[in-house]
């Protein structure tokens, strides 16, 4: 982070910044906080992981300065914030690419369409779509075993929204786990498995898994089935299975110089650091937009 104004003023900053929320966003915020230590050693930044929902509750009560979120704030949470007189700004910090995976020895699935994913995962599939050949006749007449994140995770939320069309609408008879490592274990030992989870977990376990290219039937953002990768997520061609990750900042906190400095530092470094911990950075111009948005907001909050 080469921010000359902070580099000098940084050493004089002190105080503390409290962050909590999504476990998905945690690694990015942790990385930023770690680097920020060099920037402003006297600022005590703490980060918790009580989930987006738990973080939001604390945020909307004014317990914390910043909340990590793997989804946007819900209307119910927004009204809570308003009731408590809290205004905030939403900032995107990175993308997470959801990856559809199968067992490495699975030689029949070369690609899959969003419609097919819907057919597999929609509520009506429960108890009826049980075999691979029900999706495509040329696929084997073998049982289909499904793996996915727990119903209460942001990942699941986003996946159902993007694939089925309605959030939290899916079949229930799949193997769910809160821990993506557990899903990796499941899919990598089950030849008839199909699952989905965060890109980072695929990337780290490429030898044990096989990613499936996804075709959204929309050639405007890339033709045919597309594999998730740094580039395809970043340029938006891996659609619809990449989701943005956010932080929200409380307006009261922006009255404190250390918070302003921290957020700017965050947006300056999120690109590099998010990639380092397994996520996909936003295009540069988006980071600039976020910075402007924040600057505006902070100014507005001072008045």
């Amino acid at each position: 982070g080469g921010n000359s104004e902070n580099a000098e003023g940084g050493s004089s900053l002190s105080g503390s910044i409290q962050i909590d929320g999504s476990s998905t966003v945690y690694p990015i915020t942790e990385a930023v906080a770690e680097e920020f230590r060099a920037e402003a050693p006297d600022v005590k930044v703490t980060v918790g992981v009580s989930g987006t929902g738990g973080g939001m509750k604390k945020f909307t009560r004014g317990d914390i300065d910043i909340v990590d979120a793997s989804r946007q704030m819900k209307p119910s949470e927004d009204s809570l914030a308003q009731a408590n007189g809290i205004t905030y700004v939403e900032l995107s910090v990175a993308y997470d690419g959801l990856t559809v995976v199968v067992h490495p020895e699975n030689d029949w699935v070369k690609d899959i369409t969003v419609a097919e994913l819907k057919k597999i995962w929609e509520p009506a599939a429960q108890g009826t779509i049980k075999k691979w050949n029900q999706i495509r006749p040329e696929w084997p007449d073998k049982e289909l075993h499904l793996y996915g994140p727990g119903v209460e995770s942001g990942t699941y939320d986003y996946f159902t929204e993007a694939v089925v069309g309605e959030s939290h609408s899916s079949r229930g008879d799949y193997t769910a786990s809160e821990d993506d490592n557990v899903l990796v274990q499941g899919v990598s030992t089950d030849p008839y498995a199909l699952g989905f989870f965060g890109f980072a977990y695929f990337e780290e376990n490429q030898s044990k898994l096989k990613a499936v290219p996804v075709d959204d039937m929309d050639d405007s953002n890339g033709k045919g089935a597309i594999l998730p990768s740094l580039e395809t997520v970043k340029d938006g061609s891996y659609a619809p299975l990449s989701r943005p990750l956010y932080i929200y900042v409380n307006s009261k906190a922006t009255a404190r110089p250390e918070v302003i400095t921290f957020i700017n530092f965050y947006l300056d470094n999120a690109g590099e650091l998010s990639q380092e911990v397994g996520y996909i950075p936003l295009p540069d111009e988006l980071y600039k937009e976020q910075k402007q948005k924040f600057e505006q907001f902070a100014k507005g909050a001072q008045k």
Partner: protein
């Protein structure tokens, strides 16, 4: 075969079965320890113990986590030990054997069965919010104290029960008051059993992550707490966090942190076992 031969055979058979069962326990333990140590031992060095958390597995350390765990242990012991033993003594020595006593007894057994996460919810509401302790060490220790209190009470009662009535009679007959009898005779004589309960209780507390996460213990804390009001993290949270990271290297870190957690509990158990054995040598009837 005579009956006596059959009995003898059964006796022998049970002995074999007993060795087998003990063996199973020990083998599983050995497998665990071997597994964890093989994975994590190489990662443990001075830097690991003295470094702050980091996104880079190779640079990440557990300083704040183990210091937090020690704080939590000490505070929890200070809170739960006197409270639990006092409640146990009251119920066993003072409480009349009536409806109220029955109610308390069932109540305590119930508390022992409440999942830890619910204690987290209670701690969040009572200590963090109402008492405004925030996500502090004190709030965490209080929450864990509630969690282990039933275990301490129940085992204290059992230990006290085992002290023969003749010992109490002897003391009362010399003019000792109830409390003097409890303090001078009953508690010393049952101390071994009480310690066993505390060991089990504390080792449960030291491994808990969920209730602490609920009350707001943090994952990333770049400073060691210096007062009970400070924010904190503990080893189980650090371990939990690391095991859910995609990078393999963090799993190694988690194993290393587990080794440290085990060392802490070993030391703890070691002290208590030493005291208990010393005690059991002294008291025999």
């Amino acid at each position: 075969m005579t009956n006596s031969d059959i009995n003898r055979l059964k006796d022998k058979a049970f002995q074999v079965f007993g060795i087998f069962c003990t063996f199973i326990g020990l083998v599983v333990l050995a497998v665990f320890l071997f597994d964890i140590i093989a994975e994590g031992i190489a990662r443990i060095d001075w830097d690991f113990l003295t470094s702050l958390p980091s996104r880079r597995a190779s640079r990440a350390g557990i300083l704040t986590a183990w210091v937090g765990t020690l704080w939590i242990l000490v505070l929890t012991t200070i809170i739960a030990f006197p409270l639990g033993v006092a409640a146990g003594v009251y119920l066993e020595e003072y409480g009349k054997k009536n409806k109220m006593a029955n109610f308390l007894e069932i109540n305590i057994a119930n508390l022992a069965g409440v999942p830890s996460i619910i204690y987290g919810l209670l701690g969040l509401e009572v200590f963090v919010r109402q008492m405004r302790l925030g996500g502090s060490l004190l709030a965490g220790a209080l929450t864990l104290s509630l969690l282990i209190l039933p275990i301490i009470i129940v085992t204290t009662r059992e230990a006290i029960k085992a002290v023969p009535r003749s010992i109490r009679d002897g003391s009362y007959a010399l003019g000792a008051s109830k409390w003097q009898t409890v303090w001078n005779q009953v508690l010393p004589a049952s101390f071994g059993g009480i310690l066993t309960g505390i060991i089990l209780a504390l080792s449960r507390a030291v491994g808990e992550a969920a209730p602490l996460i609920v009350i707001g213990a943090l994952a990333y804390v770049p400073f060691t707490p210096s007062t009970p009001m400070d924010e904190f993290t503990v080893l189980p949270i650090q371990i939990f966090n690391w095991t859910s990271r995609p990078q393999e290297a963090f799993l190694t870190n988690a194993a290393a942190a587990i080794i440290i957690l085990l060392i802490i509990t070993f030391l703890l158990n070691g002290i208590a076992v030493y005291l208990r054995n010393k005690q059991q040598k002294k008291v025999k009837w």
